[in-house]
């Protein structure tokens, strides 16, 4: 057998490899570099801030309100809040499935991380209060204002950034991760990274759904590669949906403007109607209507669609027509245009009907991934040398994330992963890279280019998205989940590995990358569907028509997923409780909402 080095077009040896360059990966690099170790970031994007979810945030960063007043002088926040109150909101909002050890750290460390962003020059625009929060905690920072300062901090830290690289698999030496392999998108060359430790900060898998607010490349690569390497994943039945993106027209598909004018915050103006003109949220939450939590609102919207009361393009309607025109004009005048009618630079006024008289369509869109790689307080996984941070992980948010906590997770856990991974690096050697393993992973990567006659990656991807949406989406049902799993297993058997790119060249080949991403997406979909079927109750983003109650007597448990002997294995573990023992009993879905004053 050849040396593993001979199998690579390029070998990169580093102390710490970070997969993903944005909020979590970037802050991980900055904190790891403080120990003066060699840090290498690899990203699928063309540069920091040009890919990933962080730059797309609308975006609040949640910190307890008292700290915002006292430490940051933000007067729109309010005294009386504390990390303990924030903790309780998160645990209630997460429908009790959060790892409470992680939540305690999350709320404690948030102010320090906000200070760090301030020191890096990140501007704080205003503070808002979103549903599920007892206090105004959301420091509004638009993604395009957040990421350039993080980019500068990363570059100044001396971390090496390698762009346009898709990491495909982790390298293992028994129970330890010793590096990774990937493709240089420019040359198509095979890169082997030899590293003492790896931080996986590769983000979520929102792209398995056709409606998503997430960027193109979030195809679950990080979770899938961890799974294939033997890592444990948790809470995979809980993707998160944002109630209100455009299903149409195509230019704004996935843009969350309908959400921003209706369900966002605690008092936006827009009303949601079904095609009979009924403001259907009154049946679900008569007090808060559209301002109930995002999971319930998403379920309510899809129930309208499922029962034939939806809009032309498969959603529901949002309108201002119930309000006097003077008030709507006032709304436009006092709202920051870039957050509303000039959102994302889109010509919204040109595309949309007059909201004073007409309605726009809205569909729930996959916005976040609550589940992911299971980590402990030190961002360690069950594999030695593999750390994880940010959206790729599961546990912090339980079954549902509160608004503003994605940014907080990104900086708190990104930074922590850098601290603990660098500590590990100082006492570690390089481990042993197995040439046979490298050869097999290389073969897997290049195999699609040799395929003939299989389904094309674009078509395969679309079929997967349709199946995910229709059978493993927001409203779930045992028989439909089983049907989805039959398709997924059939694909794993007969389709994955045979997807055929139309272009056979190695350089800048989108079809090829799509084919590799497709394998990851299928793997994630299998995990979501299997865990959703396993959880015979309704909670958070797992709403089951056949098990409509929230069952605290039997389901105060996390579902853990792991690959064993090539098969997906699931088991349950009791939730991790430190401070708050959730109530026993069986409740109707949505009745465990935080009681906010």
């Amino acid at each position: 057998m050849a040396n593993w080095e001979d199998l690579a077009d390029r070998v990169i040896t580093t102390d710490l490899l970070i997969i993903g360059s944005e909020g979590a990966g970037g802050t991980a690099a900055v904190s790891a570099r403080k120990r003066n170790i060699r840090v290498t970031i690899a990203t699928k994007g063309s540069d920091i801030r040009r890919s990933g979810a962080s730059v797309t945030g609308d975006g609040d960063l949640s910190v307890d309100s008292t700290s915002l007043v006292r430490r940051f002088g933000l007067t729109m926040a309010r005294e009386g809040d504390s990390p303990e109150v924030f903790f309780m909101d998160m645990v209630r909002g997460g429908k009790y499935l959060n790892n409470q050890k992680l939540v305690e750290i999350h709320v404690q460390e948030a102010p320090d991380r906000l200070q760090e962003l301030k020191d890096w020059g990140v501007p704080f625009v205003r503070v808002g209060q979103a549903s599920g929060h007892s206090f105004p905690r959301g420091v509004f920072i638009p993604g395009p204002k957040l990421m350039p300062p993080i980019r500068n901090a990363v570059l100044q830290s001396g971390a090496e950034v390698i762009t346009n690289v898709m990491i495909t698999d982790l390298l293992t030496d028994r129970n330890r991760v010793v590096g990774a392999v990937g493709i240089d998108l420019e040359t198509g060359g095979f890169i082997v990274f030899q590293a003492k430790a790896v931080i996986n900060a590769a983000g979520g898998c929102m792209r398995i759904y056709p409606y998503t607010t997430a960027p193109e490349e979030l195809t679950g690569d990080g979770m899938s590669m961890a799974y294939r390497a033997g890592a444990e994943l948790v809470n995979m039945e809980f993707p998160m949906f944002l109630p209100g993106a455009f299903p149409h027209p195509e230019i704004v598909k996935g843009v969350d403007f309908p959400f921003l004018i209706s369900t966002a915050g605690t008092r936006m103006w827009g009303a949601m109607l079904n095609c009979w003109g009924d403001r259907f949220m009154r049946h679900w939450d008569p007090d808060k209507l559209e301002h109930t939590t995002r999971d319930i609102c998403s379920v309510a919207m899809m129930m309208e669609v499922r029962q034939g009361r939806g809009s032309e393009h498969g959603g529901v309607y949002v309108t201002f027509s119930h309000l006097p025109k003077t008030i709507v004009d006032r709304f436009e005048k006092i709202s920051p245009p870039e957050a509303y009618f000039e959102y994302g630079g889109f010509p919204l006024k040109k595309i949309l009907p007059d909201l004073k008289e007409d309605a726009i369509e809205a569909v729930p869109a996959c916005h976040f991934w609550n589940g992911g790689i299971r980590i402990n307080e030190r961002c360690e996984t069950n594999l030695m040398g593999l750390f994880a941070a940010g959206e790729v992980t599961g546990g912090v948010h339980g079954a549902n994330r509160l608004s503003g906590n994605a940014y907080t997770e990104m900086v708190v856990w990104g930074t922590r992963s850098g601290i603990f991974a660098s500590e590990f690096v100082l006492g570690a050697d390089y481990g042993t890279i197995d040439a046979d393993q490298v050869a097999a992973l290389k073969q897997r990567v290049y195999r699609p280019l040799e395929n003939e006659g299989g389904i094309g990656p674009v078509e395969a991807r679309k079929e997967l998205m349709t199946l995910a949406w229709e059978k493993v989406g927001i409203i779930r049902n045992g028989p439909e989940l089983e049907e989805a799993l039959r398709s997924v297993r059939e694909w794993k058997e007969n389709r994955v590995g045979r997807v055929t790119p139309r272009d056979k060249r190695r350089s800048w080949n989108r079809d090829w990358i799509f084919a590799l991403e497709y394998e990851n997406m299928v793997q994630i979909l299998e995990m979501v569907a299997t865990a959703a079927l396993y959880r015979t109750e309704s909670r958070g983003a797992n709403y089951r028509l056949d098990y409509p109650m929230t069952d605290n007597d039997n389901w105060l448990k996390n579902i853990v997923a792991k690959q064993e002997d090539g098969q997906l294995k699931l088991w349950t573990e009791p939730i991790v409780v430190t401070k708050y023992q959730p109530p026993a009993g069986v409740f109707p879905y949505g009745k465990l909402e935080p009681i906010t004053k």
């Binding site: 040009r50 994302g344 630079g345 595309i351 989108r510």
Partner: protein, 123 residues
């Protein structure tokens, strides 16, 4: 599920400046696209990639005007293709300030050195 809504389609001509790094060749390629109302320039590029030409290279990530990674020259003006409405025939070229990886894909780490015409440079 819901019925497929009716679509209004208008055929348009799209001319794209191509560059193949393997051969060093540059050329302008024309495509005909059945434009639907409410498509962005990015939707047009995706349609070409999906239906006509898998070799067409371009970059995008967020699709919502935030990552600013999809900027190209659209009918002579620098724009993000994701938030620019496609309304008729168009000419698409890569950014003029960077060297080109392939087609519309800029190499953001390498400035274009000459002030001369790009096509001349490559020949």
């Amino acid at each position: 599920m819901h019925a497929e809504p009716s679509k209004t389609v208008k055929p348009i001509n799209v001319e794209i400046e191509r560059y193949d790094p393997d051969t060093g060749e540059s050329w302008r390629q024309k495509y005909q696209v059945p434009l639907e109302a409410g498509w962005s320039v990015l939707n047009v590029l995706n349609w070409i990639y999906e239906n006509l030409d898998p070799t067409l290279a371009y970059y995008y990530s967020c699709r919502i005007g935030k990552c600013e990674g999809c900027d190209c020259v659209v009918n002579g003006e620098k724009k993000l293709v994701c938030n620019t409405l496609a309304e008729g025939d168009m000419v698409l070229e890569p950014l003029s300030e960077f060297q080109v990886h392939k087609d519309l894909l800029p190499n953001r780490f390498k400035a274009r050195v000459s002030v001369g015409g790009r096509r001349k440079l490559r020949i």
